[in-house]
């Protein structure tokens, strides 16, 4: 874990190294092979390889942890987050790396009006900084099937209706330790895990944590249009999740809440002191554009890692120095420059 966190930034979001490419290829080939075997054996691969194992694993958790399905969902979500931790860390690192080059991105946007040239320069910048622009997306895309499988598994498990119980009976492995524990105890704290939480408490928790997580994984917009779009998304997604949580069994809401909290904690571990918690507030005044505070010519002579460390963005990811300190440093440099000229 520590080793992962200390990984040099250049590797984050960078194209995979040959070794990891091979591992990825082996994993993909293994999954494809398993899908082919499942289809040939007459199984639905999505159910046989993802959903059914997840259901049985969750019930195993339930049995191990006091036959309390709420605790089982929490621990299982944390477990899954741990398993996918390298991907999550890469996602945060990619976000950080993309944030770091935003000033130069802005310059390119301003400098080159021709879209083709602008794209070429942008790609060159990515290459120079060792960043894969899809670095933020790939981990999310990989985690997405896991989330969908979990969502479907939980829906079946906490559905609480005879239809869902018949479905569940078809998915349990023939092990009396598992079969004997259904239907699962659905009461947890104030929640009935099989029914939506009409108290609005859990939906609000889910909305707030979705907002926080989203703010931590967004990069600085380079244009006002992007900023507007991002602000809209920052509000729309949490509200969407609040609405969804009001409609689905609260077991799923619990999963989303714990998953978001875990992601925020991972983000804190990766970003550490770079998180400006005030900037995560929806009422925070966006930090000024980094390029406006850090004149390019002076920075050109600095090593890239140093330059990146000074950057502040409005996604809440901050440089080692606070915005105020950065301003002071800039002023001090200007004053020194003036004295030299005299």
């Amino acid at each position: 874990m520590d080793r992962l966190l200390r990984r040099p930034q250049q590797t984050s979001g960078a194209p995979s190294r040959p070794g990891s490419s091979n591992v990825m290829m082996i994993v993909i080939a293994g999954i494809v092979l398993a899908i082919i075997i499942a289809i040939n054996a007459g199984y639905d691969p999505w159910n046989a390889l993802f959903i059914n194992p997840l259901i049985n694993f969750l019930i195993l958790f339930n049995n191990i942890f006091f036959h309390n399905f709420g605790i089982a969902i929490i621990l299982f979500t944390i477990f899954m987050r741990m398993v996918t931790m390298p991907l999550t860390i890469r996602q945060f690192q990619s976000t950080r790396a993309l944030s770091a080059i935003q000033p130069r991105m802005q310059e390119i946007q301003k400098k080159y009006k021709d879209p083709k040239r602008r794209q070429e320069e942008t790609m060159k910048l990515y290459q120079e900084a060792g960043i894969n622009p899809l670095g933020c997306l790939v981990p999310m895309v990989i985690q997405f099937p896991i989330w969908i499988a979990l969502y479907r598994a939980l829906r079946i498990m906490v559905g609480g209706t005879p239809e869902s119980l018949v479905q569940l009976s078809q998915r349990l492995y023939p092990w009396s330790y598992l079969r004997g524990s259904v239907p699962l105890e659905q009461h947890f704290l104030w929640l009935n895990l099989g029914h939506p939480d009409t108290t609005f408490v859990l939906p609000v928790f889910v909305g707030v944590t979705t907002y926080l997580q989203q703010k931590m994984t967004t990069t600085t917009p380079t244009t006002p249009e992007q900023r507007q779009q991002q602000q809209m998304m920052n509000w729309m997604m949490p509200l969407f999740f609040v609405w969804i949580t009001l409609a689905v069994p609260s077991g799923l809401g619990l999963y989303w809440f714990v998953s978001n909290v875990t992601a925020v904690m991972v983000g804190y571990m990766v970003m550490g002191r770079r998180i400006d918690w005030r900037q995560l507030s929806p009422f925070a005044v966006p930090a000024p554009a980094p390029a406006a505070r850090a004149p390019r010519p002076e920075r050109e002579s600095q090593p890239r890692r140093e330059r990146e460390a000074e950057i502040v963005d409005d996604s809440g990811i901050e440089s080692e120095a606070t915005p105020l300190e950065a301003e002071r440093k800039t002023h001090a440099r200007r004053r020194r420059g003036k004295r030299k000229n005299r």
Partner: protein, 335 residues
């Protein structure tokens, strides 16, 4: 089904009364509960309603017990009786003690006054676990299977347990029990069908019947044979006396079976979840019809007789009648 009126509940949470003079003609709905201007629906109605000369009683997935006027579908109580959790099984009316019993997923059996819907002062029996099955009322005794594997026998008039200890299975009991020849037959999610001595609460067979999946459907007993469908897609037939196999091998359907089978015109009719209806010879479990009937609708509800035809209520709310002699079926047209 009562006289010429069929009461059909659908998952959408509606109960409809149909006037049926001829099962093959168009069925006209007399009333629908809740009425069109009522916004609150009872979510879903899984248990078979109890119908008297003037009232229709049922429990619903919205935790409530309803009493409707049979003639117009209007509520008869000031307010429905509310439990803490959904009611999945059927309610039971005991004319002898004038009590309406409702078993809720909150683990409590409530004894209500059928006239007012209020809880009778001394009638509240806490089983300590979820109740999914419909209880059985026979000879003034209420048999209640619960999800911690226990089966309780309770006096209907007083709510006092009859047996010294409740029967205990290794996992939840989920099927409605059947009483035949002093034996209670009840299925569980431990894949076993138990025969229990109704007077002592002890096992009546040396070994329970074991399947590959749960016994959820209510078993059918006829001619000394127990027909027990399972969620492992099979129908088992065993002798009531000792649980020994009555067929050379169980009948294999195409999907799990949740609906109670029925014997009509000498044919054992079974429907699986996929809506495939089979007509079997009750003597050996072989197919009697040239081919099964495919309703192409999911079926969970028990089969009932409607005159000489079998009425099947599909999960989506569609109704079908099936000829038990040939397997020919007709979708019911309603208006």
């Amino acid at each position: 089904m009562s006289n010429d009126t069929v009461f059909a509940s659908t998952k959408a949470g509606e109960l409809t009364a149909f006037h049926v003079s001829d099962p093959n003609a168009i069925w006209s709905s007399v009333w629908i509960f809740p009425a069109g201007n009522d916004k609150e629906k009872p979510k879903a109605i899984y248990g078979t309603p109890v119908v008297t000369s003037d009232t229709v009683y049922f429990g619903a997935y919205d935790n409530k017990v309803y009493a409707l006027d049979r003639s117009n579908g209007r509520p008869r109580w000031d307010a429905p009786f509310e439990t803490h959790d959904p009611i999945i099984g059927a309610v039971i009316l005991d004319p002898a003690s004038n009590t309406l019993f409702a078993a809720s997923e909150d683990g409590i059996v409530y004894g209500l006054d059928p006239a007012t819907g209020r809880l009778k002062p001394s009638w509240r029996f806490d089983t300590g676990s979820q109740i999914w099955a419909s209880p059985l009322l026979e000879n003034g005794i209420l048999y209640v299977p619960v999800m911690n594997g226990k089966l309780f026998a309770v006096e209907a008039s007083t709510a006092h347990p009859i047996w010294a200890e409740p029967f205990k299975a290794s996992a939840g009991l989920i099927s409605k029990p059947v009483l035949a020849d002093g034996k209670l037959l009840v299925g569980g999610i431990d894949r076993k069908l138990y025969a229990i001595n109704s007077s002592t609460g002890r096992a009546a067979w040396s070994q329970p019947l074991v399947a590959d999946n749960w016994f959820w459907a209510e078993p059918l007993v006829a001619g000394g044979v127990v027909y027990a469908p399972s969620l492992d897609d099979r129908v088992y037939a065993v002798n009531l006396s000792d649980g020994s196999a009555a067929w050379p091998q169980p009948f294999k359907a195409s999907d799990p079976i949740r609906a109670r089978p029925i014997i009509a015109g000498g044919t054992l009719v079974v429907v699986d979840r996929a809506g495939i209806v089979f007509g079997l010879d009750p003597a050996d479990g072989t197919m009697k019809w040239p081919a099964p009937a495919n309703l192409t609708e999911q079926v969970f509800a028990d089969l009932v007789m409607l005159g000489e035809r079998i009425l099947i209520s599909a999960h989506g709310g569609a109704l079908f009648t099936v000829d038990p002699a040939t397997g020919a079926f007709n979708p019911v047209v309603t208006r």
